[in-house]
């Protein structure tokens, strides 16, 4: 526990990822110095070489687990962290690199690298919660910096973060955006996708592509019927759920309903 005499210690950790979610903290240009004033940034390699060894009050974890070494490292991070919050689709659902879970990773390595035998990688990309207990999961590819500040503030106040689990559709209504699917027949994952982005894509005249992952209790089978009526074929329906949150269970199962027969069936759920 943080004693009253010292500021809580924040650590930011990276696993397989693009760095974008931890960059969100540095993108809080108006708030960064205030955050740094309220917390001791004890480990944040993207931002500082200064580091404090020992235990951390809050660890933000970016990225998914794709190597045996990282599977060990996350256990050490957990042991040293009072609260552990995953930030983003990689840490929460395995990320875009989780597409290997539907394929043969040796074939992937051979397609990209001249010497695939040098590649040490696991066959799967898995979320942090499959390896250690997680206190809170923040969604998004990338996360919303507004929601990141909410998580950090909630932690400092000792309360649970407010990040509604309703759909992007609710955010469109709140924003006053005309429904792109109803009005224009544009395919949209909004009805099954977790809120948090502020319904960005429909405001830019395109359908949501699901980068915040599934909302609570989604009904993707019903949405797929509508998408098929808009002209999507089986291949497209398989792919539309299979991007940055492809391994979130609800998206994985729905993509497999439309996917190829010869690929591995759901063996992770």
């Amino acid at each position: 526990m943080a004693s009253p005499t010292r500021k809580p210690r924040l650590a930011v950790w990276k696993f397989a990822s693009c760095d974008g979610c931890q960059l969100s903290l540095l993108d809080c240009e108006d708030e960064l110095l205030a955050v740094a004033g309220a917390l001791d940034i004890a480990y944040f390699m993207e931002a500082t070489r200064g580091r404090i060894e020992g235990r951390y009050d809050l660890s933000l974890v970016e990225g998914s687990i794709t190597t045996a070494h990282d599977a060990e490292r996350i256990r050490e991070v957990r042991r040293r962290s009072r609260r552990l919050v995953t930030i983003g689709a990689c840490a929460t659902a395995g990320g875009i690199q989780g597409l290997r879970n539907f394929a043969d990773v040796a074939e992937y390595a051979a397609a990209v690298y001249a010497r695939p035998d040098y590649i040490a990688t696991l066959a799967t990309s898995t979320p942090i919660a499959e390896h250690v207990p997680v206190d809170f999961e923040l969604r998004g590819c990338p996360i919303s910096k507004r929601q990141l500040l909410e998580v950090v503030s909630a932690f400092l106040a000792g309360r649970r973060p407010v990040t509604p689990a309703h759909s992007v559709c609710v955010e469109c209504k709140l924003r006053g955006t005309v429904c792109v699917m109803v009005a224009h027949g544009t395919a949209c994952l909004g009805p099954v996708t977790h809120a948090g982005c502020g319904a960005l894509c429909p405001a830019y005249d395109r359908g949501c592509y699901g980068c915040f992952g599934p909302k609570e209790t989604p009904n993707p089978a019903s949405l797929s019927g509508r998408l098929a009526a808009l002209g999507m074929d089986g291949g497209q329906l398989g792919r539309v759920y299979r991007s940055f949150n492809a391994n979130a269970p609800e998206f994985r199962q729905e993509s497999q309903r439309h996917g190829r027969q010869d690929e591995p069936q759901d063996d992770q759920g």
């Binding site: 960059l23 960064l32 931002a47 070489r49 690199q97 690298y113 040490a120 990338p142 830019y204 005249d205």
Partner: protein, 433 residues
């Protein structure tokens, strides 16, 4: 005892203030730097493998995720390569908006690097937050300048990280002139702040270190390069992006497992701000050119530590160019040109903040990706970074270990290496023989 003095290994296990995670190892034998190895333990994510089978329209959303710091670069190289494969050309206001978007990324990424990642090295701080204790106003100016870059990305791209508005053929939605007006006001402030930034970083104390680099960058007939141009070098190379594979290759270096891009003649080369400036200084705006001269850059800058000055000049240019684009912007009739799927191949290179980013795609008849190849700037610079370490560390061997380690890190940070992008990097195993 003799062994101790004759042999020394300097290790930096986690490089701080680079995007992504890497380490470096320098081996010294009998007072000579024998080797320097930058090792990347960023786990592979296999983008080129899982891009296969995706529809061409899905590609820019996916390639953005290679790098959270420079997603626009990945989107731009992929849409231009795909448009070549599909026989489409994007011109006029849509082309100008793409340039504006790239200005936003350069301002955001370069300012992040100059203020938050690189300047603390020169001023003796562990990071920008410590630096803010003594230089609060300067750090705030950097954050606000960075924010203006992000405001361009947010308005034109939809959001700062992984913009949602880029598509093959153009955009999903284009801004109205009146939406851009407040941005122009912010950019006028940013241009002043960028000018102050050039003066600030020009006053740093730079190590004397010049190397005769082989610079490689895009060159365009009328513009400082973002999205278009021929690939040229300081020694006479002048090719189309489609010819990259005829002149460059990614090879295995002896005793290492990393792929590094080199010229087929075996030479290492340098991409990024120093290369762009050396090959395109005459294409800068008058204001940026003047600031470069005032900062003492000359026609060519071969000191990698001064790359921070060149980045600051490029931020100034990007502010100036963004203002020019906004002032002359005419709303296009449609947000995108029509694109029909077809079989084909296309290559494109664009100038990511860190340097040349090359993509090639082969499409099947239905417009799905049959093959993809991506060569990021950091894999092209890796050989030059290691040669720099060997050259520059030799003169600093008398420094105590900790100071030497910091000098090694500073040398690597000159390149603003983006390790998450480096899809071809492998974990490197040193033979310490």
């Amino acid at each position: 005892m003799a062994g101790k003095t004759s042999r020394k290994t300097i290790r930096v296990d986690y490089l701080a203030r680079v995007e992504g995670e890497g380490a470096l190892e320098v081996v010294v034998r009998d007072g000579r730097v024998q080797s320097a190895a930058l090792s990347i333990f960023e786990p592979p994510r296999f983008f080129e493998a899982f891009l296969r089978g995706r529809a061409f329209g899905e590609v820019p959303d996916i390639t953005a995720r290679i790098c959270g710091i420079c997603p626009v670069a990945y989107q731009m190289s992929s849409v231009h390569a795909l448009e070549r494969a599909l026989g489409v050309t994007v011109e006029g206001p849509l082309r100008a908006l793409r340039r504006l978007l790239y200005c936003g990324e350069w301002i955001e990424s370069h300012t992040l690097h100059a203020y938050l990642l690189h300047a603390p090295d020169f001023l003796g701080y562990a990071g920008a937050i410590d630096m803010a204790g003594d230089h609060g106003e300067i750090v705030k100016r950097g954050l606000q300048l960075k924010k203006v870059g992000n405001e361009i990305l947010t308005l034109v791209g939809g959001r700062e990280i992984h913009p949602i508005n880029v598509r093959v053929g153009g955009f999903y939605r284009v801004p109205r002139r009146r939406e851009l007006a407040p941005l122009a006001e912010r950019l006028k402030w940013a241009r002043e702040a960028a000018l102050e930034t050039v003066r600030w970083v020009a006053g740093f104390d730079f190590p004397e270190a010049e190397r005769d680099y082989l610079f490689v960058a895009l060159r365009h007939p009328g513009e400082y390069p973002f999205n278009e141009g021929r690939i040229v070098s300081g020694r006479g190379l002048d090719i189309e992006a489609a010819d990259w594979e005829n002149h460059f290759e990614e090879i295995h270096v002896a005793r290492s497992t990393a792929l590094q891009a080199r010229l087929k003649s075996g030479e290492s080369y340098l991409v990024g701000p120093l290369a762009r400036y050396a090959l395109n200084a005459d294409r800068l705006s008058p204001l940026a050119r003047e600031a470069a001269t005032e900062a003492g850059l000359g026609a060519v800058c071969r000191n990698p530590y001064r790359s921070i000055v060149v980045r600051a000049v490029e931020v100034l240019y990007a502010c100036d160019e963004a203002l020019r684009i906004i002032e002359s912007y005419e709303e296009p009739d449609a947000p995108a040109v029509p694109v029909e799927p077809r079989a084909g191949s296309g290559c494109a290179a664009t100038e990511a903040p860190r340097g040349l980013l090359w993509h090639r795609y082969r499409l099947a008849e239905d417009g799905s990706v049959a093959e993809a190849r991506i060569v990021p700037p950091t894999s092209q610079n890796q050989a030059a970074i290691e040669e720099d370490l060997v050259a520059h560390i030799q003169g600093c061997l008398e420094l105590p270990d900790e100071a030497l380690r910091e000098r090694c890190e500073l040398t690597v940070r000159n390149y603003d290496p983006c390790i998450s992008c480096a899809t071809h990097f492998l974990k490197l195993t040193m033979d310490r023989g």
